[in-house]
Amino acid sequence: MRYYDHLIFDYSKSGRCGYTLPKAAAPEVSTAVPEGLRRASAPALPEVSEVDVVRHYTNLSQMNFGVDTGFYPLGSCTMKYNPKINEEVAALPAFAAIHPLQPVETVQGVQAVYAGMEQMLSAITGMAYFTFNPCAGAHGELTGLMIMRAWHRSRGDMGRTKVIVPDSAHGTNPASAAVCGLDVVVVKSNADGLVDVEDLKPLLGPDLAGIMMTNPNTLGLFERDIKQIAALVHEAGGLLYYDGANMNPLIGKVRPGDMGFDIMHLNLHKSFSTPHGGGGPGSGPVGVAAFLKDCLPYPHTEGQQDNETTGSSAGCTQRVDLLTCGPFDPQKTAGRVSAHMGNFGVILRAYAWLLTIGRQHVREVGPIATLNANYIKELLRDAYKLPIPSVCKHEFVFDGLINDGAREGKEGATTLDVAKRLLDFGFHAPTIYFPLLFHQALMIEPTETESKETLDAFIDVMHRIAAEAAEDPDILHAAPHACPISRPDDTTAAKHPVINWADLQAE
């Protein structure tokens, strides 16, 4: 990676352009915008040539690390390989050029994608219905909680305003609950890193809307007491929400619907292989048990797939009856959560992945991801503190170095230092300082798409870094040494925000 210090504005020169337009279809109407509605001066956008644009963004891309560059052991993020055929499918003009308000008879191919995905995701998770309208994981959480509240509301049960969230939960869980107008109550983890059932019991009552759980949790541990937890929550009149951020180890092995969860979201950009795009677009479909169907947000695809003509199974039908956006009950629906039906382009990619995996390989996904995580854990526990040694699922957490090299007059190497040093060796850093239960948390998730050779190379580097720390932690303190930039000054960035080109010029 090479440091490149330009912004597109640097190339701007009055009179340059990078576009062509079709010839005018009609004579210009100079009076279309009356003077009082016109802006005073043109916006300060750059004026650049096409060549400028191509070179600039190519240079920018070369300062970026992606899954195609190397291994991304980022805990809770499931950075698996993003297949290329998926991109080809998503770019098909017959999908990409469809207006969202086209008559439903003219978009049966689109509607069949929603119906097929609903069937396949239901098969994998044990839920009954899915909405694809949420655009991301956190958006899915919010939508799921809206469904939860809509259900209580539809039954006239207005006092349920409390939601229980474990202390190990992703930060989006309590934030989504707050946006949904719910009061968050935290349930503690026990010494084994699991939800403490005794701590949970006194929190249950007539004000309980439900509980949000991640299983396996953010420590990579399967919540063994889920049966008892589900029974207790249901008995108290609450619903169980499943945060699907950690679904990958369960694919092909365990279905959240079977564990008593009523509502869940999936991250298509995690377990279902769609690219993260530097932070989006993602897709956060929400699945519900059958009794919650009327509470789904609208619009939602309705209609029966006709399997008989082809004898094929879910998702693979070639003929369907007319699929429409079904009617909804305004008294029961959670409402409208996005412009149309979510990020259709992302849903197409996940569909292609599911068809590539198919019934033959679905049982390999979770177990191989889990094997990869346990393999790294076993081979690195001699150098990194392992607070919870039991078998993990797709991810696990170290609590910093066993020997951080601290000595008289020298600070030891921290988790941040380890993360930054990893960058020098061509690996992305793990998730750090999360979950909050451990001060030096390093959370590692390899996914099933990484080979034994890749894991071995990572393990070697992690050992080498541990040895460096023991010898001279300053090597780590000064890392990274081989990236386009060294560590940025975050404090100044926050104290004196310079957040656009105009600010930068005023500097």
């Binding site: 279809a25 509605l37 994998i124 996005s338 926050a494």
Partner: protein, 441 residues
């Protein structure tokens, strides 16, 4: 074996030995047996690439590609080929959120450029890194208004906003106890008198109005900011960003916050997603702004660099006290829009508006000249306009759909709202007009 799962049987055996287990099933020994799924997964047989191609070609054949005269927040503008070429670069496409700035300067720089361009278009001082879409950005702006004012629980929204914007705003508000009231329109535009009357309650935290509304009318917001600010509320403009090349900016109207959907900046229709929402505000509200923000700083060697900043507002730090639950942005679509705006520049974007507007006025005039349509309003418009049809609007729309023309959006029993962009040729527009003349409906 599978191309995405590289493990050979021998690899699996060796790795199981390392972790001290006999089979992959042992990895799930801690899961109660009753939860291990033993049934058949009802999934299709795994497909090869060519089977996938054929499968999706068959599905695609069940969509009808139409000549698009529909809008309502989603516009068929021209899009340069450079954009998908660059956004598909895998260093952009397959990157995670830029948590490690040392190896994410590409993403951080284009987000900084995106923020700069949103500020340029809106005239406001601060922009975030983008949101999911326009309607959710509007809902977040409403939350922001309530959070920025004290003990006020009402937000006024224009009745002329797009239906999907109103519905998402109402949905979000219904869970947080915010009361949404609509401001009446007169002659198709939000009424200042109605606004002033609604502000008198003293309970209003924010006012959401469109720069170009659902009828395509360019709204005149003269006097709005003064009235809204006198009532201690925030003025939020919902904008079509493409039109900001020529129309008065939110800052010029005196708005505190601007939101909208980036789709009109060359993003493919793609059945409504992905696009992006944008959100900009005055500096005073910087710390109330939801979403990611990228800022400039220097590294240890004094080199200019970019980082995610002001994260103390966000969910991973503040949890339930965060400004929003939003965790990410629509980063790749922000790159799309940034490249689009770079290629078009101020002149190109103005031309897009002029061409679209010329074609829209031509179509409008020709349809009115048939004697079967009357304009809904006499107010000025750019690329979109609503007409009342003397007959059954749905029947006419259906007849044209059968000819492969998406003749606007039916917005009432006798009403159709048309949009025309620079992408429509004279032949396509005349074809629509001729079919309308022929249709005896």
């Amino acid at each position: 074996m599978h191309p995405y799962i590289p493990h050979t049987p021998d690899d699996i055996r060796k790795m199981l030995d390392t972790v001290g287990m006999k089979s992959l099933d042992d990895l799930y020994a801690d899961v109660p047996q009753e939860y291990i799924y033993k049934g058949d997964y009802d999934l299709p047989d795994a497909m090869s690439e060519d089977e996938i191609r054929r499968f999706f070609a068959d599905l695609a054949a069940r969509n009808v590609k139409m000549t698009c005269f529909a809008g309502q927040g989603w516009y068929d503008h021209c899009s340069p080929s450079v954009i998908p070429y660059l956004t598909q670069r895998s260093e952009f496409l397959t990157a995670y959120t830029p948590y490690q700035p040392e190896i994410s300067q590409g993403t951080l720089r284009y987000i900084f450029e995106f923020q700069s361009m949103v500020c340029a278009l809106t005239g406001l001082e601060v922009s975030n890194a983008s949101m999911y879409d326009g309607p959710t950005a509007a809902a977040e702006a409403v939350r922001m208004a309530v959070a920025s004012t004290r003990k006020k629980d009402v937000v006024l929204i224009a009745s002329t906003l797009l239906p999907q914007v109103k519905e998402v705003v109402r949905t979000y508000a219904s869970y947080s106890g915010t009361v949404i009231e609509e401001i009446a329109a007169s002659d198709g535009q939000t009424s200042l008198d109605a606004l002033t009357a609604a502000l008198a309650s003293g309970r209003v935290a924010g006012v959401l109005v469109p720069n170009v509304n659902a009828y395509g009318i360019i709204e005149d917001h003269t006097g709005f900011a003064e009235a809204v600010h006198a009532a201690g509320a925030l003025l939020i403009e919902y904008c079509d960003p493409s039109t900001l090349a020529v129309l008065k900016s939110p800052a010029e109207w005196g708005a505190d916050v601007a939101v909208g959907d980036g789709q009109s900046l060359g993003i493919p229709l793609c059945y409504g997603g992905p696009s992006l929402g944008f959100m900009a505000c005055k500096k005073d509200y910087l710390r109330k702004l939801p979403g990611r923000i990228v800022g400039a700083t220097t590294d240890r060697d004094g080199k200019r660099c970019f980082v995610l900043t002001l994260q103390a507002r966000e969910q991973h730090i503040r949890r339930d006290k965060a400004t929003s639950n939003i965790c990410s942005n629509q980063s790749l679509m922000a790159l799309w829009v940034t490249i689009y705006l770079s290629l078009l520049g101020p002149k190109g974007l103005a031309e897009v508006n002029e061409r679209s507007s010329a074609s829209a006025h031509y179509l409008c005039d020709q349809l009115v000249a048939t004697g079967r349509f009357t304009p809904v309003s006499s107010k000025p418009f750019l690329k979109e306009f609503a007409l009342d049809y003397q007959g059954d609007a749905r029947a006419l729309h259906k007849a044209l759909a059968d000819k492969g023309i998406l003749a606007g959006v039916v917005t009432g029993d006798h009403r159709i709202t048309f949009a025309v962009t620079e992408k429509r040729t004279r032949e396509e527009i005349d074809c629509l007009i001729n079919y309308v003349k022929e249709a005896a409906l």
